[in-house]
Each structure stands twice: as structure tokens, then as C-alpha cells.
């Protein structure tokens, strides 16, 4: 898919070269490269230098050498006048649970601190083949377990909108990097809300695709029937461009069928006749500000021709229990392999210590507290005597919840609810209370349970200046419709302001920060 194929977006400002109220970054950056206003190398250096200086701790590893090699390759192709691929030369970050051959992939856990994969995740490979400019690996909650990015073994990431606030989790680093201008877009992963919640806390567009749209091959598994990889970007257009590149069928993943149609091609479609269900149970527990912002969003979409009406999915309120039982069960099994024999952390051997004792020590020292909690819960719900009451029951309820969502989606094209019931909370607030930690995922887990696509887009800002996210849940493979709704919303509303710490970067004399790039 080439740049020229993409539809021009509506504002006249764009063609006049003036900053658009749209927050697109991919097309403008490629334009800069093609118009030779800066070289790809200069671009790479500007981003890398900003990332090095940033106090946000969004990156756990910067891959400067490889980035410059890629940048040089792109510059050569530009010099030869070759057509660029849609994401070619665009600076980006990868969440550190996506396998990158030859580059450490740690899941921000002591257990994998030294682990270097010998193969690439398919989603990354698809971007690598386009000469995507990988700047580094982004911080995350350990093994993607958490909603604040505080369980990382590399320390927390800070929210660009409030330095004492969390960026959300588990894709906290991916969100902070994009929101603060340290990457044009990033790939995150979402098991119970880990793309959408940080996107919401950081004023980004984040989409969890339909289960099976994007290959999971190479994604270090948390919960196999819930995990999906998805883009986190500053605008709906950017998210759509990235999604189109990664939502391809993959023979290495039997659960992946790819996306049947292009998201980018759907942008700009009229909203006339689109039916949006306002999901009543999703608003439970939401702060007033959040509730108001999301309902206002509904009104904006109505003015553009959509029809909104309240709807109900009663089992939504049990989503958390269903999710935690099943996700922890799968996670406890997926994390069994970390025993320090073939890869990963193992402590120095003790005298007369057999393999079993050594494995116990490796896992106990290598895993953090949240990970251990979830492994224990998962082991418990699968164990003899409890399997029926917990796991089997949760499976059945998952089917029921899915059925309810799909029924609702027979009367509506998508469902609207908040992404989170609050805006970004302070660091250290979600303390050690396990159950309280779970509740942060209230609005997001249902889409993972049902395998349906769900998107978060910024729809307002709190009095404290923190972004608010609205969430759309769609029918299976309905990503194009969701992204179009977000794009149309962007057309009709003023954007959420940039965070004060948005990185100043200069490349080839162009002040990228000022352009919002």
C-alpha cells in the first residue's frame, strides 16, 4: 500500500502545509522525507536523542545502531526515487513482549532480562520488511500483568500528562512514547485492556483488533485466548495505516485469519445510518467527568448522522471475574516454561541442589509479585476440585457474555462506553490490593472475552488536564467502522492538547515538536 493511495484528509490546512488540527504523524513525516526537508537519518537521530534525554522511562532499550542502519537504507531508496512503503522510515516503538530477533525481549521481567529471541514476531516482521524505523523496546508491566506499568523490573513509566501519574498498563511505555513525541506510533498488546487503557490515559488512539486479525506468533504469551497485538497512535488515520500493515493471515498462527478489509479505505465514509448502542453497564462506577465526556461524544457522532440509543449487556458486570479466572488460568500454564534451563534467569547453583529446587528458586527470584499472584490464582482455578466451580463456570459465562454482546451488535453497528472509569491515577495508588487492581480493567475486559475489536480514542480532558478515552466495541472484523467513527469524530472536534513535555526535536532544520510530530 503506497502513500499515494491514501485518501487526503479534509482540512484545507494540510494542503497549505499548515499544522492540521488532526494529529496525524505518519503521512506528514513521510512527506517531509519525500520532500527531502530532512533525511531519515536526521529523523532517527532526532528521535533517539530525545528518547535518551527523556525522564519518562518509556523505553527500556534503544536500538540506535540498527535504527541508523535502517534510516540509511531508507535514505538510499529515497535518493533513487523509489516508492516508499506505507510505514517506511517512520520512527516507532515495540512493546517489549514482541519478539525481535537479535534484540533483547524482556517482558520487563528479571526472568527474561538476558533473553534474546532467535526469531521475529510476525507482526514485527511485517513492519521490518517495510523498513519501519524501530527506535527501541517500550516499557510494560511485567509479563503484561498490570494496569499501571509499575510492575516493570525497569521501574515505572511516567504519564506525559502528569509526571506523578501512571501512563496506564500494561502497554504503558508504548503509550508514553507516542504521547510524548518519542515515537510516531507503537505496537502494544491487549489482553484485558492493555492497549486501550493506556491509550485512554495518554490521549491516544489505541485499537485491540478482533481476535485472530493479527498474528500472535512471536508475542510472548500472557493469556492465549485473549491476547492481541494492536497499534497505538496519535490519530485514527495513523492507527488505520498500521493496522492494515499488520492484520495479515499467518501460517505460523492457526488462530490468525487476518483482517478481511482495509481500515484506511473506510476512512471518510459517511456516518449516516450508523447505529451506536450506548452500553449502560459500561458507565457503572465512572466518574461524572468521564460519563459526560463520553455522552457528549455520542452527541457529536449523532450530529454527523449516526443514530444512538441505550442498550444493555447485563453480564458486562461479571466480565472481570470471568476474565481473571480464565486469563490467570492460561497465564499460569503459559508461564510454566520459565524454568531457567533453555533460556531465562537461573540463580547460581547451590551444593547438592537438584533440578526441581533450582527451578523453584529461579522462578521465585525471577518473577515479581503480581506475576506470582496470578500464577497462583491460575493454578488454583485449574486444580482438581476447583476446576468445575471456577474454570468451567467461567468458560460457560464467557460464552454467555459473548452471546449477549453479539446479540446487542445485531441491533447496533457498535457499542459506546468509557474506556476507563477514571482518568490516569497517581503513581503508587493501586497498591498491593489485588482486587482493586483488577477493577481498573472493568470496561475493557468484555471485548477480550468475546474476541471482538475495541478501540479507544481521546474524547476530552479532565479539569486536571488528563485525557479521557471513549471506547467503541465492534462486530468481528469491524475495525474499519470503528476507526472511521474515530476519524470522523476527529474531523468534528478539537483535539486533546499535547502534553507539556512533548519532545522538541529538530531534524534537517525542521522543528518536529512544533509540528506535533
Amino acid at each position: 500500500m503506497y502513500m499515494m493511495d491514501l485518501p487526503l484528509y479534509g482540512t484545507k490546512n494540510a494542503s497549505a502545509g499548515l499544522p492540521s488540527h488532526k494529529k496525524d504523524r505518519i503521512l506528514p513525516l513521510q512527506r517531509l522525507l519525500l520532500q527531502k526537508e530532512c533525511s531519515c537519518r536526521e529523523l532517527a537521530k532526532a528521535y533517539l536523542s530525545a528518547a535518551e534525554k527523556s525522564p519518562l522511562n518509556a523505553y527500556v532499550l534503544l536500538t540506535a545502531e540498527k535504527a541508523l542502519e535502517t534510516a540509511d537504507r531508507v535514505d538510499q531508496r529515497i535518493a533513487k526515487g523509489e516508492t516508499l512503503a506505507s510505514l517506511e522510515g517512520i520512527p516507532m516503538a515495540l512493546k517489549d513482549n514482541l519478539s525481535t530477533e537479535g534484540i533483547p525481549t524482556t517482558c520487563c521481567s528479571k526472568m527474561l532480562k538476558e533473553y534474546i529471541p532467535v526469531y521475529d514476531a510476525t507482526a514485527w516482521k511485517l513492519l521490518k520488511e517495510q523498513n519501519a524505523l524501530l527506535l527501541g523496546k517500550a516499557n510494560m508491566d511485567e509479563f503484561a500483568m498490570g494496569s499501571t506499568c509499575e510492575t516493570s523490573c525497569f521501574g515505572s513509566t511516567l504519564n506525559p500528562y502528569g509526571k506523578d501519574r501512571v501512563p496506564g498498563g500494561s502497554s504503558g511505555g508504548s503509550a508514553a512514547a507516542v504521547a510524548s513525541g518519542l515515537a510516531a506510533y507503537s505496537l502494544g498488546t491487549d489482553t484485558g485492556g492493555s492497549i486501550r487503557q493506556p491509550a485512554s490515559f495518554c490521549g491516544l488512539v489505541g485499537i485491540k483488533p478482533t481476535y485472530g486479525a493479527v498474528s500472535r506468533y512471536g508475542l510472548i504469551a500472557h493469556a492465549s485466548s485473549f491476547d492481541q497485538i494492536g497499534p497505538m497512535a496519535a490519530s485514527a488515520m495513523d492507527a488505520a495505516i498500521v493496522l492494515d500493515s499488520i492484520a495479515k493471515p499467518d501460517p505460523m498462527d492457526p488462530t490468525c485469519t487476518g483482517a478481511p478489509s482495509s481500515a484506511v479505505k473506510a476512512l471518510g465514509t459517511s456516518l449516516k445510518g450508523i447505529r451506536i448502542g450506548i452500553l449502560r453497564e459500561g458507565f457503572q462506577g465512572s466518574r461524572q467527568e468521564i460519563r459526560d465526556a463520553v455522552l457528549k461524544t455520542a452527541k457529536v457522532l449523532e450530529r454527523m448522522g449516526a443514530h444512538t440509543e441505550e442498550c444493555s449487556v447485563p453480564l458486562l458486570t461479571e466480565g472481570l471475574q470471568i476474565y481473571y479466572v480464565l486469563a490467570c488460568a492460561e497465564a499460569s500454564s503459559n508461564l510454566g516454561r520459565y524454568d531457567g534451563i533453555r533460556y531465562g534467569y537461573t540463580p547460581a547453583p547451590k551444593e547438592e541442589e537438584g533440578w526441581r529446587e533450582r527451578i523453584l528458586r529461579a522462578r521465585s527470584e525471577g518473577f515479581g509479585r503480581e506475576v506470582k499472584r496470578r500464577i497462583l490464582l491460575g493454578t488454583f482455578v485449574l486444580s482438581a476440585g476447583y476446576y468445575d466451580a471456577f474454570y468451567r463456570k467461567a468458560q460457560a459465562l464467557r460464552r454467555s457474555l459473548t452471546q449477549q454482546l453479539k446479540s446487542a451488535l445485531e441491533s447496533f453497528d457498535c457499542l459506546l462506553l468509557p474506556t476507563t472509569s477514571t482518568a490516569a491515577f497517581p503513581l503508587g495508588m493501586l497498591g498491593s490490593d489485588a482486587v482493586e487492581n483488577f477493577e481498573a480493567d472493568f470496561c475493557t475486559v468484555a471485548a477480550n472475552c468475546a474476541g471482538l475489536p475495541a478501540l479507544s480514542f481521546p474524547c476530552g480532558i479532565t479539569l486536571e488536564g488528563l485525557p479521557i478515552g471513549a471506547q467503541l466495541i465492534g462486530k468481528a472484523f469491524g475495525e474499519p467502522l470503528l476507526l472511521n467513527l474515530a476519524w470522523q469524530y476527529e474531523e468534528a472536534s478539537s483535539p486533546v492538547p499535547m502534553p507539556p513535555v512533548f519532545a522538541e526535536k529538530t531534524a534537517g532544520g525542521v522543528s518536529l515538536g512544533k509540528l506535533g510530530l
Binding site: 519478539s99 525481549t105 517482558c107 527474561l112 533473553y115 529471541p117 532467535v118 526469531y119 514476531a121 500472535r216 506468533y217 512471536g218 508475542l219 510472548i220 504469551a221 493469556a223 492465549s224 485466548s225 501460517p251 505460523m252 498462527d253 492457526p254 488462530t255 488460568a329 492460561e330 500454564s333 510454566g336 516454561r337 524454568d339 534451563i341 533453555r342 533460556y343 533440578w355 526441581r356 527451578i359 493454578t379 485449574l382 486444580s383 482438581a384 476446576y387 474454570y391
Partner: protein, 475 residues
């Protein structure tokens, strides 16, 4: 059997694992070939590297269905993979992908010679683990075998003697080899049997407490282990000592079963459906097309050879023991009237040259089935009499050449009537005593005269015609 057999009954069920003869592993494209350098048939999938995902090999499903069809199982249109979670250094993912709740085949049987059916409860597919090599205090691990596809065949506790167990395994091996689905060799580890054994008083319907015997590497050791364990359990019962449900291994040197230490209590495997794999869905059409690929099975051949060709049961069993022998026989006998001769010659002179079981299984005699058939046709048409034909066969087996090489033109061309009559008259003249005896009623004396005719015509005389003329002249 033994003196206890009157009072007690042994009850056993077998769980057999067979390695499938696919080219690649069950969930990835690595080779299943035996004997590669350690850790050279490995990839992210079979190594369980973080982020890897399994993908089921189509041939594994086909082979499992073939095994199920050949043992009269119901093939389940819906079956599913499950995770069996436990920690061991030879298991990279800390779980084995197997089928627990919904196996692919169920409710079949294998019939023994004594007519009894051993019911098969289920056949399911699963992956093999790696190999541990113990060297002093260290363990070295080779993951080449990890991910090799297995089928597990579980019987009901229908077996009533160690000999029945042996026969069951031999029948199963035969079937698996006929299908080309597995080599089924215990010594090489491509067939592994675990036995669940208990005893009870004759006439009892409840089952006694059972023990599990694992890791027997040959059929004869399995039989010995079962015999020992049966005696052990009986002697415990006689002393009113309860039998512990435990896992045992058979110690070959000591000739006894002993507890496998370190298997602490039953592991809780926490089975749950494998989320990375879709269910295995088959249609009736899929099964029908796999059924087309079924070769004629040993029991079908047994029927056909004994009933249609009237080959004695013991000979039939020898012919059908290996598919290669059966197919050789069928090719050689094709179109012949006297199929029995083909059978006899294979089991006699040809088998004599192929003494070992391994060679019989490969079955590649110096003479091809077509060459054999050629000779048999000449025998049948009367062109060559029996003894010379047998001699020619030996020469063919010596050299691998066709019979044409060893038959002279003269031998092939039919004897003229005149020459035959003359030979008969000569024989009567040369053996006057025999001629006299015959005229006096000793019909057996004809044989001596016939023999003389054969010798003088170098075996070319057709026996019936010679007899006719001799009798004429002796009137």
C-alpha cells in the same frame, strides 16, 4: 499356566504409545528422523520458545483416523487438544499438548486368536517429550524427540493373561505396520507399553486394586513383568495384605517389579482446552476418503486366505504376519489355480533363505514375485514337473535370475507322442518284475515304471499321459 489360575484371575489393561511415521513433528516442520545430532531437529515451536505457537500436522490426524478405522473405532467428528500441565526438564513448555476430554477415536477392538475381543476405549493424539541423558550428577537434555507425534491406544481391562497381552501387542503392531502409520518397535522406542494390572478371585466381578507397570522395553520383559506382578499381588492377597496403587518398573536383572521412587502421589495435571489450537473437525467425507486409503488388513486377509484359498490357518498366519510377505504372496499367486503351491514355496524354500524376523519384515528375496509366478505358471500348465521346478527355484534363489535361464529348450517343448510311447514300452522292458507285479494286481508297481519313464525322458513326460500308456501296454 500356573497353579493359581484356578483360584485367581489376572485382569489387565494396556496403554500403548506409538510414534507415528510422519516426516515432520506434530506441531512444526522439524524432522522426526531418528539419530540426528542432539538439538538439531529443533525450532522455536518444539522448543516452546516464548511466543511460539503450535500448528497441527494434517498427516497426524489422518494416521490417527486410519488406526481408529483399522481397530473398528468410532471416529469422532469433533475432537480437541488439551494441555496436560507438569514440570519436568524434558518438557519445554511445562505442558504436553494431548487429547483428554475429546479423543479422536473411541470404542474399538482387536480380536485375539482365541476369539476374545480386547476392547479399545480410546485412541488419541499427543506430542512426545525430549530425552534426558543421565551422567553422574548431571543431566543432559536433547530435544530432538520433543514434538514427535504419538498416538496413545488405551484398552479396557479385558486382558486375562500375559500371553493375551503379548498377542494383543503383536496384533496392534501388525496393524500399525500394515497401515504404515508406525514402525511399532519396542526395542527402538517407537512402541511403548504400560500395563495396568490387578487380580481377583475367580468369579468376582469387582476389580481389585491395580498397579501400573511402566518402561518395559520388550514383549518378553512385559510378559515376565506381568507374571511376576500377578504372583506378587496374589501372595499379598493370600496374606490379607492390601495392594498399594503404585507405579512400578520391571527390573530385568532381578526379575521383579519395583516401586518407581520419586513419583510423589498423583500429579494434578490441571487439564484444560488448548487455547492455541482450534478443535479438530472432521466430516464424513474426510473419513470416507481416509478409509479409501486403508489397505486390506490382516484379519481380512486371514479370512480370504483360509476360506477362499483354503490355506491352513497356521500357514496363513505366517503369510500375513508382515504386509510385505502377504503382498509378495498375492502378487506371485495372482492368476494361478493352485495358490497353495505359491504359499508352500514361500513358506518353504524362500523362507529358508530368510531366517530372521527383521529380514522377513523387509521381505526382499532374490526372486521377485513375478519371477516366482512365471515358474509356477509353467508348473501348473504341466510344462515342468514338480521336482525339476523345485530345483530351478533353488537355482533362481541362488542367482536371482529368471527361470528361463535354467530351462532348456528341450525341456520346454512338449514330448511327442511317439517318444512317450516308446519310453513307456522301454520302461516295461527294463523293469519286467515291476510289470509282472502290476499285472498281478500290485497297482503300486506302476510307480516304479513311471519313475523309469521320467528318468529316461529327463522329466519331460507328462505324468498322467505316461500312466495312461503304461496301463495300456500292461493289459
Amino acid at each position: 499356566m500356573e497353579n493359581w489360575a484356578c483360584e485367581y484371575e489376572m485382569v489387565a489393561g494396556l496403554e500403548t504409545h506409538a510414534e507415528l511415521s510422519t516426516a515432520t513433528k506434530i506441531f512444526c516442520g522439524c524432522s522426526t528422523a531418528f539419530g540426528g545430532a542432539p538439538n538439531t531437529h529443533c525450532c522455536p515451536v518444539c522448543m516452546g520458545m516464548p511466543g511460539s505457537l503450535p500448528k497441527l500436522n494434517q498427516k497426524v490426524v489422518e494416521f490417527a483416523v486410519l488406526a481408529g478405522l483399522a481397530t473398528h473405532c468410532r471416529i469422532n467428528l469433533y475432537s480437541r487438544m488439551d494441555r496436560k500441565n507438569y514440570c519436568y526438564p524434558d518438557l519445554p513448555k511445562a505442558y504436553q499438548i494431548t487429547q483428554f476430554e475429546h479423543p479422536i477415536c473411541e470404542n474399538g477392538w482387536i480380536r485375539l486368536q482365541n476369539g476374545r475381543k480386547i476392547r479399545i476405549r480410546r485412541i488419541h493424539i499427543e506430542e512426545d517429550a525430549g530425552k534426558l541423558l543421565h551422567e553422574g550428577e548431571s543431566i543432559r537434555i536433547d530435544y530432538n524427540r520433543c514434538g514427535v507425534p504419538l498416538i496413545e491406544i488405551v484398552t479396557e481391562p479385558d486382558i486375562r493373561s500375559p500371553e493375551e497381552a503379548r498377542e494383543y501387542v503383536e496384533e496392534l503392531q501388525k496393524i500399525l505396520r500394515y497401515l504404515g502409520v508406525s514402525d511399532g518397535r519396542m526395542q527402538e522406542g517407537s512402541l511403548r507399553c504400560d500395563v495396568n494390572l490387578s487380580v481377583r478371585r475367580q468369579g468376582e466381578t469387582d476389580f481389585g486394586e491395580r498397579t501400573e507397570i511402566k518402561n518395559m522395553n520388550s514383549l518378553s520383559n512385559m510378559v515376565k513383568a506381568m507374571e511376576y506382578e500377578t504372583r506378587r499381588q496374589i501372595s499379598l492377597l493370600e496374606k490379607d495384605t492390601p495392594i498399594l496403587r503404585e507405579t512400578l518398573r520391571y527390573n530385568v536383572e532381578k526379575g521383579k517389579t519395583e516401586s518407581m521412587r520419586g513419583k510423589e502421589g498423583a500429579d494434578d495435571y490441571r487439564y484444560f482446552p488448548e487455547p492455541d489450537l482450534p478443535p479438530v473437525i472432521l466430516t464424513e467425507k474426510d473419513i470416507a476418503s481416509i478409509r479409501q486409503a486403508l489397505p486390506e488388513l490382516p484379519e481380512e486377509k486371514y479370512q480370504r486366505y483360509t476360506e477362499k484359498y483354503h490355506i491352513p490357518p497356521s500357514d496363513t498366519r505366517l503369510l500375513i504376519k508382515y504386509r510385505s510377505v502377504a503382498e509378495y504372496f498375492e502378487k506371485a499367486a495372482h492368476g494361478l489355480q493352485n495358490v497353495k503351491t505359491a504359499a508352500n514355496w514361500i513358506l518353504g524354500p524362500i523362507f529358508a533363505r530368510i531366517p530372521t524376523e527383521a529380514e522377513k519384515e523387509r521381505f526382499a528375496p532374490a526372486v521377485s514375485p513375478i519371477q516366482l509366478r512365471e515358474l509356477l505358471q509353467l508348473l501348473e500348465s504341466g510344462k515342468i514337473p514338480l521336482q525339476p521346478a523345485k530345483q530351478i527355484l533353488e537355482k533362481m534363489l541362488d542367482t536371482g535370475e529368471s527361470c528361463g535361464r535354467f530351462i532348456t529348450k528341450e525341456q520346454l517343448s512338449p514330448l511327442s507322442e511317439d517318444v512317450l510311447r516308446e519310453a513307456c514300452q522301454d520302461a516295461i522292458r527294463q523293469l519286467p518284475q515291476a510289470a509282472e507285479d502290476y499285472k498281478n494286481g500290485k497297482t503300486k508297481a506302476l510307480k516304479a515304471l513311471l519313475g523309469m519313464v521320467m528318468r529316461s525322458t529327463k522329466g519331460r513326460a507328462p505324468a498322467k499321459d505316461a500312466e495312461k500308456y503304461l496301463m495300456q501296454y500292461l493289459e
